[in-house]
Amino acid sequence: MPTEIFSNHNLEFAIRLFAALVCGGVIGIERTKRNKGAGIKTHILVCVGATLFVILSKYGFLDIMGKEGVRVDVSRVAASVTMGVGFLGGGIIYLRGNSIQGLTTAASVWATAAIGSALGVGMYILGVSSTILIVVLQVVLHYEDALGMERTTSSRIVVVMQDDQEKFSSLKDLLHQRGIEINGIHIKKNKEASLVYTMDIRMPKNLSPSELLDIVRLSGAVKSIGM
């Protein structure tokens, strides 16, 4: 349930805003260190903004309540926070090559607004425990590489070779051996009667330069590989 620590409203609101500053900051530090688009400033601002909108929603209209014909839905402005921050988050997501980037950051901005809202209505425990959970999860799940959940990255490979079914299937075997999966192929005929294959692939993360060069050499036809 919402708690009021102080009987003085302004003091109470000030505490909520400061709590939002701290919670947004804690989440933001982790994001900044990982070089994400949304860092400490963005998270603090979103968290403080959500708190302020929710305080406004809950307490800003009380003085004209009770007038006949006036209804106040004290959660209405607070409800818009979810949408407003959803739009902001939408702006963070972008397409890079064939893969979507920025989703986690967008989600973390959105969740930060939820924490700001919780603090704004006075649910301190909810706000603080969500903050701790988010930070712990962001840190722990970044070891998903180690857990084997996300070991590949989407990439692109360009191959120039003669129109030869056998050569192509041996290339496919080579890529398959290296754990590279072909998702899409674009073929173009160039002047010297050879074919240019541009393929969208998923390949293991952190292939070293020598491993990449190895693929280029063994195939004899790969012109370029990588992001």
Binding site: G39, D63, D73, V85, S210, V216
Partner: protein, 228 residues
């Protein structure tokens, strides 16, 4: 809580609220302008002013229709629209480039500025002014050079063009590893003359001596061109 300073003169109160919203927008916007951000003094001032006006329309503009026995007025409805509306504006201020995002804190800042303006509109002056002060604090405090331990790691691009020689590539790998240079993305391209070009996105340690690194790589691998 919402307070009315001058209860008997509503018009004067409106004007004072708008002026206060302008002052808050000015305070934050002038800091932004000084740092040549996309959204400067005018943007913040207008967002604060607009939000303040919307909030007043929402709270006071429909009271004359609030008659007994009628459907009634929800005085928070227009104010709620500010939150989504400025969210749209902010999303438009965000630029997504090939591999990074710009304008995010500008978008978030505009959104908070709208909250400040709306608070002034409904008469919650104390928290509006407090939040303005907090915004200024955050924007001054977290400029990248102020807090070195929360600044993002240095990123860069390394391009090496060299002979197709596995030994030299192994040397290059070892050199990067030795200097704590992390490879985030890599790309290899083979040329007709038998050379290969490696392009890497790298994360570099703060104290990296770039000229020294480049000349060492050059010496050790016999590369044709190096670019960091």
């Amino acid at each position: 809580m919402a307070i009315d300073f001058i209860n008997d003169n509503f018009e004067l109160q409106i004007i004072l609220k708008l002026l206060l919203a302008c002052a808050c927008g000015f305070a934050v916007g002038s800091d932004r302008s000084r740092h040549h951000k996309t959204a400067g003094i005018r943007t913040y001032l207008i967002v604060a002013l607009g939000a303040c006006a919307y909030a007043m329309v929402s709270k006071y503009g429909f009271l004359d229709m609030a008659l007994p026995g009628e459907a009634g007025v929800d005085v928070a409805r227009v104010t709620a629209g500010i939150v989504t509306g400025v969210g749209f504006l902010g999303a438009g201020a965000i630029l997504t480039r090939e591999n990074h995002v710009e304008g995010l804190s500008t978008a978030a800042g505009m959104w908070v500025m709208a909250a400040v303006g709306a608070c002034i509109g409904v008469g919650m002056y104390f928290i509006a002014i407090l939040t303005t002060a907090l915004m200024l604090f955050v924007m001054v405090m977290f400029k990248n050079e102020r807090l070195p331990h929360v600044t993002p790691a240095d990123t860069g691009h390394l391009t090496v063009t060299m002979k197709d020689d596995m030994g030299a590539v192994k040397v290059l790998e070892a050199m990067l590893y030795e200097r704590n240079i992390d490879i985030a993305d890599s790309h290899v391209k083979r040329h007709k003359d038998g050379t290969v070009t490696f392009s890497f996105s790298v994360i570099m340690p703060d104290n990296l001596d770039i000229p020294e690194t480049v000349s060492q790589i050059y010496k050790a691998t016999g590369a044709k061109t190096i670019d960091l």
